[in-house]
C-alpha cells in the first residue's frame, strides 16, 4: 500500500525561557493510504503537537512532512488553507461546531468553500448526516443537541468532502462511555467503508486498539509502533 503521509526527522521545539524545549524529537513515520492510526501517550508526550504538524495547523522547527509525496514545508498560508480544505477533515476534542450555524450549515460550509453548489452541498450534507444517524437534526443548532450528537456532526463535517485524511484529536474525550462507543463505531465505519485514512489521538487504550495500527509517544519519540490484529 502506498504511503499517503511521510514524516521524516520531525522536530518541534518551543522557547522555554532562555533555552529551547524539544517537544518532538526527530519523529519518522510512514502512514499508508486508508490506514486507521491511533496515537497514544501521556499528557505532554507530544501527540497533539505531532498531529498539529501533520495536519498543517502548525509549522515544524525542522524535518519534513510529505503528503501524497508532496513536500508541505514550502506551502504558503493560502496554499496550506487550500490543502487542508481539499484533503483533510478535522474532528476536534469538543466538536468545535459554529454555534451560529445549524447542523446542516455546519456540515455544508466547507463544501460551499470548495465551490460546490448550495443544492449539491445540502444533498451531500444530508446524506452524510443520515449516515451517522442524525439526519433528522439538520435544522437544529449546536446548542440544541447533545455532546455525542455534536461529535457526530463534527464527524460529518470532517468526512462530507471525502477527504484523504481525517485528523481526530481525542474525539471521545468529553463523552460518556456509551456515546464514545457510538463515535468510535462511526470512525471505524468511515475507515472500513470509505477507506479514508484516519489519524486519531486518544488517551484510552480501549479505543486506540480499535485502529489498524497504534503508536505510542513518549518525550517526543515514538516508543512503540504496532499493528493490531483484529
Amino acid at each position: 500500500m502506498t504511503n499517503i503521509l511521510q514524516v521524516r526527522n520531525l522536530i518541534k521545539s518551543f522557547k522555554d525561557g532562555d533555552h529551547l524545549k524539544k517537544i518532538l524529537n526527530g519523529i519518522n513515520l510512514d502512514i499508508p493510504e486508508g490506514q486507521f492510526l491511533s496515537i497514544i501517550g501521556e499528557s505532554g508526550a507530544g501527540k497533539s503537537t505531532l498531529i498539529y504538524q501533520m495536519s498543517l495547523l502548525d509549522v515544524p522547527t525542522s524535518g519534513s512532512i510529505s503528503i501524497f509525496g508532496k513536500e508541505t514545508s514550502n506551502l504558503n498560508i493560502k496554499e496550506q488553507a487550500e490543502f487542508r480544505l481539499n484533503n483533510f477533515g478535522y474532528i476536534f476534542q469538543d466538536s468545535a461546531l459554529i454555534k451560529e450555524l445549524s447542523v446542516l450549515e455546519n456540515v455544508k460550509l466547507s463544501l460551499l468553500a470548495k465551490g460546490i453548489s448550495n443544492k449539491k452541498a445540502e444533498e451531500m450534507s444530508k446524506e452524510t448526516l443520515t449516515k451517522v444517524g442524525i439526519g433528522e437534526m439538520i435544522n437544529r443548532y449546536p446548542s440544541e443537541i447533545s455532546g455525542g450528537e455534536k461529535q457526530r456532526v463534527a464527524i460529518s463535517r470532517a468526512i462530507v468532502g471525502k477527504p484523504s485524511i481525517v485528523f481526530a484529536d481525542e474525539p471521545t474525550a468529553n463523552l460518556d462511555h456509551e456515546t464514545s462507543e457510538k463515535v468510535m463505531k462511526e470512525l471505524k465505519n468511515i475507515s472500513d467503508e470509505l477507506k479514508i485514512t484516519i489519524i486519531m489521538i486518544t488517551h484510552e487504550l480501549e479505543y486506540a486498539e480499535r485502529a489498524d495500527r497504534m503508536i505510542e509517544i513518549s518525550d517526543g519519540n515514538i516508543i512503540n509502533d504496532s499493528s493490531i490484529n483484529k
Binding site: 495536519s55 487542508r84 480544505l85 483533510f88 476536534f92
Partner: protein
C-alpha cells in the same frame, strides 16, 4: 474568488441573524442616528440659507431679476422694457416695484412714520409701490399677510406694514432696531415721504406682512399708482427692480439672453435669481456646508470607532471559532470579508431605517412645519447627490470598520487561535 465571497456572505448572514437582537438593534439604532445626524443637521443648516434663497426667488426676484446698473438709481426707459417683457412668450408674468428715491438707510431723522398722537416714535423704512395684482398672481405675496388683508381695487390711502416694524421690544432682532411697536390693522399712521415737501400724510394700515424678505418686512407696501400720485412722476422716475416669472418649460439663461438682446444693457442688469442674490449668501451657504461637514465628520468617526469596537469584540470572542474555520480550510480572506459584510449589513439596515424616517417623517414634517427663522423658513434641504455621497461615505467607513478588526484577528497563528493561547 467567488467561493471566497460566497462563503463570506454565507457566514455574515448567519452571524447577523444569530447575533444578539439587542446588540444588533443598538448598533443599527446608532447607525440610524448617525445617518440622520449627517443628513438632517447639514440639511437644516443649509436649509436655513436655502429657505432664504427659495424665499427670495419665490417672493421677490422670480427666475429672472432686473435692476438698474450701478450708475442708475432706477430703471430707465421702462416702458420699452415692459414692451419687451410683454412680448416674450417665455415670460409668465413680471412685477415692477417702485421705491421712494428718498430712502435713507442710516439717516433716521429725515424720514418719519409715527402713530397719530405719539411723539418721538419714528423709524426709517422703505416704501415700495407695487402692482398688487401682479404680486399676488406671480409672487404670492398676499399669502404672507399675517394680520388683516391684501389690497383690493377700491383701497385708497391704505398700506400694508412690514411685520418687523410692528415688532415689540422683546422681538427685536438687533438692539438698535427701531420699531413702531404694536400696530393692528385698521390703525392710522402718518408717512412723510422723502423728497416730498408736503405735510405728512395719513394712511390706514390694512394688513401686516411677514415674508422673511427684509425689503418688505422692514418696509411699507403701497399700490404703485398711489405712490405715483403722492410723489408725482418727477420724483418717481422708474422701477427700482422687476421680478420675472418664466414659464415652466423656459430656460432661464435663454430668457436672460433674449431680454438682453432686446434692451439697452448699459441701463439695466438682467440676472438669474441666483446671480442677483450675490456672493454674500453664497458665502454663508458655503460656511454652513462647511460647518455641517465638520459635524458630520465627527459623527462618522464616532460610528466608525463604534463599529470597529463591536466587530473587534465580536471577532475576539470568536477567536477560537475563527481558528477552527481557518483550520478546516476556510480562507482567511473569507473570514475577513464575512466581518466586513456583517458591518455592511448593520450599516445597510441603519441607513434603510434612517431613509424611511427621513422620507416618510422628517421631510414631510419640515415641509409642513418649516422652522421659523427671522430671515427664512428653515427647510430640510436634502439633495439626491448629497444623500448618495453620505450613504457611500458611511458604507466605505463601515467596510473599513469591519475589515480591519477581522484582519487583526485572522492574521494570528491558526493553531494559537484554536488553542486560545
Amino acid at each position: 474568488m467567488s467561493n471566497v465571497v460566497r462563503t463570506a456572505w454565507f457566514l455574515a448572514t448567519r452571524y447577523f441573524f444569530k447575533f444578539s437582537k439587542w446588540t444588533s438593534g443598538l448598533i443599527i439604532f446608532v447607525i440610524t442616528l448617525t445617518f440622520l445626524n449627517l443628513v438632517v443637521v447639514s440639511g437644516l443648516l443649509v436649509g436655513l440659507i436655502e429657505g432664504s434663497i427659495v424665499g427670495i426667488k419665490e417672493l421677490r426676484t422670480g427666475e429672472v431679476f432686473i435692476a438698474p446698473t450701478e450708475q442708475n438709481q432706477y430703471i430707465k426707459k421702462y416702458n420699452e422694457l415692459f414692451n419687451v417683457l410683454d412680448n416674450n412668450k417665455d415670460i409668465k408674468g413680471y412685477a415692477p416695484r417702485y421705491v421712494s428715491d428718498a430712502r435713507l438707510y442710516k439717516d433716521y431723522k429725515t424720514s418719519i412714520y409715527r402713530r397719530v398722537g405719539e411723539v418721538g416714535v419714528d423709524v426709517y423704512a422703505i416704501v415700495t409701490g407695487i402692482d398688487f395684482k401682479k404680486e399676488k398672481n406671480f409672487f404670492g405675496l398676499d399669502k404672507k399677510i399675517i394680520e388683516g388683508r391684501w389690497f383690493v381695487d377700491t383701497d385708497v390711502n391704505s398700506v400694508i406694514l412690514g411685520s418687523r416694524l410692528t415688532a415689540k421690544k422683546d422681538e427685536k432682532l438687533f438692539t438698535d432696531e427701531r420699531v413702531l411697536g404694536d400696530i393692528k390693522p385698521g390703525e392710522i399712521i402718518e408717512i412723510r415721504f422723502e423728497n416730498n415737501t408736503s405735510a405728512p400724510k395719513k394712511f390706514q394700515v390694512i394688513g401686516i406682512i411677514n415674508s422673511k424678505q427684509q425689503e418688505y418686512d422692514y418696509g411699507i407696501l403701497i399700490p404703485d399708482r398711489e405712490l405715483r400720485e403722492i410723489l408725482g412722476q418727477g420724483a418717481l422716475l422708474g422701477p427700482d427692480n422687476i421680478g420675472i416669472r418664466i414659464t415652466s418649460k423656459a430656460d432661464t439663461t435663454y430668457v436672460i439672453n433674449s431680454i438682453k438682446a432686446s434692451t439697452d444693457n448699459s441701463l439695466i442688469n438682467v440676472r438669474s435669481s441666483e446671480e442677483s442674490i450675490g456672493k454674500y449668501i453664497g458665502n454663508i451657504r458655503k460656511t454652513f456646508v462647511l460647518l455641517s461637514n465638520a459635524v458630520g465628520t465627527i459623527s462618522i468617526v464616532v460610528v466608525t470607532v463604534m463599529l470597529f469596537i463591536v466587530i473587534f469584540i465580536s471577532a475576539i470572542t470568536k477567536q477560537r471559532q475563527i481558528g477552527i474555520l481557518k483550520g478546516i480550510g476556510i480562507s482567511p480572506l473569507s473570514l475577513k470579508l464575512s466581518y466586513m459584510f456583517l458591518s455592511f449589513m448593520y450599516t445597510f439596515f441603519g441607513i434603510l431605517i434612517g431613509l424611511l424616517i427621513l422620507i416618510f417623517f422628517l421631510i414631510p414634517y419640515f415641509d409642513a412645519n418649516p422652522i421659523d427663522f427671522p430671515f427664512s423658513d428653515g427647510i430640510l434641504f436634502v439633495t439626491i447627490p448629497g444623500l448618495i455621497t453620505k450613504i457611500l461615505l458611511l458604507f466605505v467607513m463601515s467596510i473599513f470598520a469591519g475589515f480591519l478588526p477581522a484582519h487583526l484577528i485572522t492574521k494570528r497563528n491558526t493553531l494559537n487561535t484554536i488553542l486560545e493561547r
